[in-house]
């Protein structure tokens, strides 16, 4: 019936991806449990899993290793993209999922 401003919803963490809404479990995770959108996009929908994910990230950092792309923050992804030679014209409009995909593809080339 209508075309929604998906770009805005995705950037605000109010939709899973362009054209994809959060399902019921994901909505609960987002708004009842307060799990960040990026984590829910990676399939984390319980508080326990979110805690485990945070601990996992801390362990990786403590070992001095690099976090997987999916766990990086957007500004870290933008820096990484620049590092591998991807030019971003409008960082505000770029989603984390797009950045992860582009960096992965570029690295594999």
């Amino acid at each position: 019936m209508g075309n929604i401003d998906w770009a805005r919803l995705v950037l605000q963490g109010r939709a899973k991806a362009h054209g994809i809404s959060w399902n019921a479990d994901e909505l609960t995770a987002r708004y009842k449990l307060g799990i960040p959108a990026d984590a829910v996009r990676r399939g984390i929908i319980t508080t326990e899993d979110y805690q485990a994910d945070l601990e996992d990230s801390q362990e990786i950092i403590a070992k001095g290793e690099e976090l997987p792309l999916g766990k990086l923050k957007k500004d870290e992804l933008l820096a990484k993209a620049k590092e591998v030679g991807i030019e971003i014209a409008e960082p505000k409009m770029t989603t984390k999922a797009d950045l992860v995909d582009l960096i992965k593809t570029k690295v594999e080339e």
Partner: protein
């Protein structure tokens, strides 16, 4: 025999039939009382939600009045779609003066256009739990609101803050007094995205014919059914009941008789929109030949859309 010289008078007759059926149908349609039905010249219409203006402050003597702020909400665009059908007056009909058949064809197709419109309005409610659906015209359409969730959701959001609001009747209960009371309360304590209490007075109960009896007994009884005789029914007089035959079955044939809805009659048109670039009409063919069918046509352009969904609540009666 209806000859080409009779074309003008036949057209007048068909338009009379069309107008007569349309008048009868429109008088019975319920959808347009819930939707903001309006006209547009644009193929694509952008709808912007503005949340309640705030800014009234305690003003000291000599102080300038503060400027109010209006919060911009989500946007959604609705694109017109074209619907139509040929109303054929065949050569046989004309040659053998089959006036009854001609009348029936015009009546049937006119009814079909209004019935489909009404079912499309009802389907907006009935598919309020789905991301998309196949509409009454057989086309797949998205059914999400501007915030990217279904019409009826426990987690509607706005761009302004992370607070969300609920217009899903909690637990999708079957129609009951307790559920009506709880939903009325949910509306009355509604807060706008600025955090201001903006009561939504849910004054209309919309049910299918299957729930008509229960709805009237629950809402209109003087006393609460099944309770002690001195227990009054506080719902009496607070809710108007609308029995909508098109809620009984969805356009895909699913039995939706248990679905029920509550809405604010004063505000629901902010939630549901129906924009016509062209209202239904019967048009005569531009050229007619004595040896061919005369193709009259009925067509219209419109689109339905969901705006700010807070003013209509729904339950599919599934209990989950």
């Amino acid at each position: 025999m209806i000859a080409t010289t009779d074309f003008a008078s036949l057209t007048d007759d068909l338009e009379s039939i069309y107008n007569e059926v349309t008048k009868t149908k429109l008088a019975k349609m319920i959808g347009p009382t819930f939707f903001n039905v309006s006209d547009t010249d644009r193929k694509t219409h952008e709808h912007l939600i503005l949340h309640g203006a705030t800014g009234i402050e305690d003003v000291s003597e000599g102080q300038d009045f503060p400027r109010i702020t209006t919060e911009q909400g989500d946007t959604i665009t609705w694109t017109q779609r074209h619907f139509g059908a040929i109303v054929p007056v065949t050569k046989d009909m004309r040659k053998f003066d089959l006036h009854n058949q001609i009348r029936t064809v015009v009546q049937s197709i006119t009814s079909d256009s209004w019935d489909k419109l009404e079912q499309d309005y009802a389907d907006t409610f009935l598919y309020g739990w789905a991301d998309s659906f196949t509409n009454v015209y057989g086309k797949s359409v998205a059914s999400l609101g501007p915030d990217g969730v279904c019409l009826f959701s426990a987690s509607h959001t706005t761009p302004l803050n992370s607070d969300n609001f609920n217009n899903l009747i909690t637990g999708n209960p079957v129609l009951s007094r307790a559920a009506i009371v709880a939903t009325r309360k949910a509306g009355l304590v509604h807060k706008d995205p600025n955090g201001q209490i903006r009561p939504i007075i849910l004054d209309t109960l919309v049910v299918s014919p299957s729930n008509e009896d229960l709805a009237y007994r629950t809402v209109q009884s003087e006393l609460i059914s099944g309770s002690a005789n001195n227990d009054i029914n506080p719902l009496k007089g607070k809710l108007k009941i609308v029995v909508w035959p098109y809620l009984e079955t969805r356009s895909d044939g699913t039995d939706t008789s248990a679905y029920w809805f509550m809405l604010s009659s004063g505000k629901v048109k902010e939630s549901l929109h129906s924009l016509f670039a062209e209202r239904p009409s019967l048009d005569a063919p531009e050229v007619v030949y004595s040896n061919k069918d005369w193709d009259y046509s009925i067509d219209y352009y419109y689109t339905n859309g969901i705006g700010f969904p807070a003013y209509v609540f729904g339950s599919n009666g599934s209990g989950s």
